[in-house]
Amino acid sequence: MSAAASPPPVLELSGVTKTYRVKQGLFSRPKPLRAVGGVDLRIHKKDVLGLVGESGCGKSTLAKILLGLEAPTSGRVMVDGREVSGQDRTLLARRIQPIFQDPYSSLNPRKSIEDIITLPLVVHKVGDSASREQAVSKMLDLVGLPQRVRRGYPNQLSGGQRQRVAIARALVMKPEIVICDEPTSALDVSVQSQILNLLGDLRQELALTYLFISHNLAVIEHLATRVAVMYLGRIVEEATAADLFAEPRHPYTKALLASVLTPDPSMSVPDTQLGASYPNPIAPPGGCHFHPRCAAIRDICRTVPPPHVSDAKGHVDCHLYAERTQAA
């Protein structure tokens, strides 16, 4: 927990921004869309950083940047203190591996399970065919798939099984960091729990670090050690899981927590106090992006972007806390 003494973070982002140019109608010229705007983030070894936020807020884009699938428009990505952009992509690929949301499209339907799992080894020229064979066996055991699936094809597996294959593929190179982009949101709850349990076990066993993206706060709470909340491309609050769930600070985080529906028949549907309008990412609102929906809005929020308030617990971008710290 003591930030100062700890070794450098395995993964560090500073000021990462990604801007797309999107065309809306046939007749309009492309407009910039800031999918990720100035994100600072650190992930320490064996941490599970939960990243939550609503659809379209830039979570997947951030994940793609970390995986080297997209180049950030600006900002730096550092792995073990070394900047990534200069590094060889294959090096990055050995250390950071993904698990995607859709277990159906994340596996090449034309390849056998064995081929899918050994692909990283083949690409990085690790071992010979015999050792790869062994590696597949080991991975299948690890993710709890029967050996006989190795000659099968993705279409013969259920969603949960496919996700296990994806996990096996991600882990076969023994990466340090696994980026899980909503790995369970396409799965049924009964399967989701299997995968969550598996991910938890693997983390213990292999000392993995996760960036875990989800919009299910219950899942995040269950798995994450730290949580970052994203809104319209920015991280608006970041803290340890315990702190964040015990004492959410940003109004958006509060609303998110309030909208978690625990299966408790004695409660009714909560009122999140959020406005109905969802902002357009192409023309984000001025000032604090969140202000049109904020329950605790003040005048300043409409015009001035919120400050970046850091403290021992983490950080929060909100005018409410800026004043409090100033006052203190």
Partner: protein, 329 residues
Amino acid sequence: MSEEPILAVEGLTIDIPMAQGTLHAVRGIDFELNRGETLCIVGESGSGKSLTSLAVMGLLPKRLECTARKLAFCGTELQGLPPSAMRQLRGNRMAMIFQEPMTSLNPAYTIGDQLAEALLLHRRVGKAEARTRAVELLGKVGITAAESRLSQYPHQLSGGLRQRVMIAMALMCEPELVIADEPTTALDVTIQAQILRLLVDLQREMNMAMILVTHDLGVVARVADKVAVMYAGEVVEQGTAREIFENPSHPYTQGLLRCIPVPGRTKPGEHLGSIPGIVPSLIGKVEGCAFRTRCDLAESACAKPIPIHETEGGHSWRCIHSHMDRMPA
């Protein structure tokens, strides 16, 4: 009880002819719904929830074979009703809200046109009147500047707004029964809560009966008066929400409840409960309990016809075990 149920379903069966054989997608389910009540149908993907709700609306694709001992809306048997009579009910006295707000609105027409269409089809009203009603309902579902929204096209709205439009559209004719098929699954958590709240409020206000189809137990717990838990085409357990959550009696329901992490209840990092295995295929002959391949308590008797246990409070479940170890409340 004295009042006639608004919807009574008995022995609803849906078979789908497929290349490999017949898929018994829904196998003899029963439920009843009274005026002003909310029934939640909950179950995993593919368990037949959507088919059941489409069957009630009479919207099943023709090639599916649907039979029931009884399928009555306000006492009227729907089976065998001529298509025109069925159309008179649809959108008028019973309405439906679909899961995908992104694709459930016709991209070629304005919001206003699509809202008005429902009313124009069933009421003798003019265009202007239909518009006024549309504006009124848009206001009701929390859409600001409703007037200007009428001339917008679906693609210009965000998902949450579109789902509100869908709700407004369903309510145009003040139906007595609304069937919402996973109305919030595709939405963000915050918006989901808003939409659910809106639905519940409107349902109370208009005293509609509502069937809410979902796979989210959290939603069920908060919204439902009655719950039907479906597994592989059968209702395995049915009862009041309180009964189901406090006294889950079918091993599947119990398993489900153990699977979900609950903030404050499950400990972070701890193993969650899980249900091993996968849903069986329903193609071909299906006998006995469909859940037995995944059930800890399975016995050979599970392959035989399964009795239904029913308590006095209307709580019933389909299992060979009548008295289960109850989950600690």
